[in-house]
Amino acid sequence: MSSDTQKILTTDGVPLEVSLKKVERRNKFKAFLLVAPLLFFLLIVYISPIIGMLFNSVDDRMVTNALPKTFIAMEKWDGKELPSEEVFEAFYIDFQKLIEEEKEGKLSTQLNYEKNGFKSIIKKLRRKSKSFEEGNYKEQIMAVHERWANVEYWRAIKRRAPSYSYSKYLKGVDMYQNEEGKFVQVEEDRRIYKKLWVRTLKIAFYVTLFCFLMAYPIAHLLATLPMKYSNLLMICVLLPFWTSLLVRTASWMILLQQQGVVNDFLVWIGLVADDKRLVMMYNETGTYIAMTQILLPFMVLPLYSVMKTISPSLVRAGKSLGGTPFITFWKVYFPLTIPGIGAGSLLVFILAIGYYITPELVGGASGTLISNQIAYHMKYTLDWSFASAMGLMLLAGVLAVYWVYNKLVGIDNIKLG
């Protein structure tokens, strides 16, 4: 071969390398084209609204747009003492416009989030302001209710001046920004969200732990029994897995109620007196019991699929080398199951931390989680930006665990059924 044949050409005279690259690009494009419909569908209908929540959670233009003149007048106000007549007049003009547009209710809701007590004084102002005379608005507004003469309330209004604020995130961890711009915690007895976060993490952690403790022995039994028995027992795991979540929750409600089957049984065997039946529902206990049973299959299945691949001869080898059954289990078998434990625990933890239906139905006041609080704000207080902020904080936590899961287990290794 001569030296001038370094470049291999295809039949149409293009260097092979170039031609191959072209084919590869085309193949890449073809593969991407197949994924594209689903990817774009998800990006538009799902991912973009989630990113939109980020915007929602900091968006505070409602108040800014409701009181434009007031905020301009307030720019010169230092916030130390009551604002000047100029501010009061601007507020009165803005407020009259809001009444015309029937938006003063929205404003009062928003301001009430900032400081409790706005709702009633705005209602009162609305009624009284009809008979206001021109000029000297400061006196007239302050005469409506003593809170209008309280500088705290005017400071609260000023805090809502910027179009965007992260105050909802602070509220989500029981903090707020005080007049000097420092982050401070709310009073001890009003710290509800921190407690809720801690409780959510605690319940998710314990449910994961209980699931692990219960799933490990039965996954081991399923993996070591002969096929014909294990298939039969597998039904016990798979039937609950395929059964409607609400059906399973309903059955727990029947079991755990005070006149329910569990209490009946406990009374019958004499463990509990008839007039001292246990309260197992509408509290934390109910959440623990029901969630553990509902999430148990998600722990059993990954553990089982890992244990199935462990050769029994390894344990036999351990024993033949003089290990007692316990030592062999601990030194040989258990380490081999760690990938399954990791996969199952992360999956259960991710699912538990965002649980909504079961805690809402059996959890009562002491067994509800952060998800329930989000739903509450979405449906009842209609503080959507706060719900968005809480949702995103929860999502950040879940995505962190998801990231770990993806690194450790690989998302395409999820086993279903």
């Binding site: 084209l33 209908v45 991912i47 022995p217 798979l238 395929w242 409607s244 409600m253 989000i374 993806n406």
Partner: protein
């Protein structure tokens, strides 16, 4: 799992304790489902096992709650069942088409950014439902699709696709791509190859993904609660309202029917899984 004869007594005891624990866990898993059956045949209006039922008195049992479920005048179950099936069927069709096509692309070895795209496609399964619900609600409200079947179906397609993607990519992982090349070399166009060669081979994966998507949609309540109006009520939503307001035995009758349905799905899924394992075994 029989113990060998030479097992020492204290290990024998441990073994029986282990079996006992396993028995308890299996009982814990499966027993709650069986509480529902007897109570749904209760002649009384209470959700407790009556004395008559304990004596197996035939008078204590009746089908009145089933009658109430089907013929009850004020009962919404008929409309709810119709909606549930309608939504679940269309959501399944959508999820299967989008998910299968995407899985084909993901299984190609030329696919760029496989990891991140896979993570994105699976994310609806991981993100807590309440967050998906809030986000989808915002979108549907803006798009004018709140309180419509279309909106709920679109939302359920989102939730169903990860299952289809996972099951189909799993089936494709054992797929021998030389058969499609053979088909192409014999003059078949890509669509024809897919319909006649690829699809029949991956069908078990597609169907089991479809079952997951169907069950997910049929069982889903959080997003429907956000999106549904009065006309879009589904079985889970009715159960939810029933469980929150008044627990009537009619709900248990519905629950019994749902358990029977899930038994059917379980059997179908199990048969498919075995078939798919067989096919993958042959290809290896």
């Amino acid at each position: 799992m029989a113990l060998p004869k030479y097992t020492e007594p204290h290990y024998r005891i441990w073994h029986y304790i282990y079996l006992f624990i396993c028995g308890c866990v299996f009982f814990f898993l499966i027993a709650p489902l069986f509480v529902i059956f007897p109570l749904s045949f209760n002649a009384e209006e209470f959700l407790v096992i009556t004395d008559g039922m304990k004596r197996l008195d035939p008078e204590a049992f009746s089908l009145r709650w089933y009658e109430d479920m089907v013929f009850g005048t004020k009962n919404p179950w008929g409309l709810a069942a119709k909606n549930s099936f309608f939504i679940a069927i269309f959501a399944t069709i959508g999820a299967v088409i989008l998910g299968t096509v995407a899985a084909l692309g993901l299984s190609s070895r030329y696919m760029p950014y496989k990891g991140i795209i896979m993570a994105t496609l699976i994310s609806p399964m991981i993100v807590p439902l309440i967050i998906s619900g809030v986000a989808i609600f915002f979108f549907m409200a803006k798009a004018g699709l709140a309180a419509t079947h279309t909106g709920i179906i679109l939302a359920h397609i989102i939730l169903g696709t990860p299952f289809v993607v996972i099951t189909v990519t799993a089936t494709l992982s054992g797929f021998d791509h030389s058969v499609t090349r053979a088909a192409a070399s014999l003059g078949s166009n890509p669509v024809n190859t897919f319909m006649k060669i690829t699809l029949p081979l991956i069908l078990p994966g597609v169907i089991s993904g479809a079952l997951f998507a169907f069950v997910t949609s049929f069982d889903e309540v959080v997003i429907v609660l956000f999106l549904a109006g009065l006309d879009n009520t589904t079985i889970p939503v009715q159960m939810w309202t029933g469980l929150r307001e008044q627990l009537s035995p009619t709900i248990l009758a519905v629950a019994t029917c749902l358990i029977l349905l899930s038994t059917l799905v379980l059997v179908a899924a199990e048969l498919l899984r075995r078939r798919s394992e067989r096919i993958r075994g042959i290809n290896r």
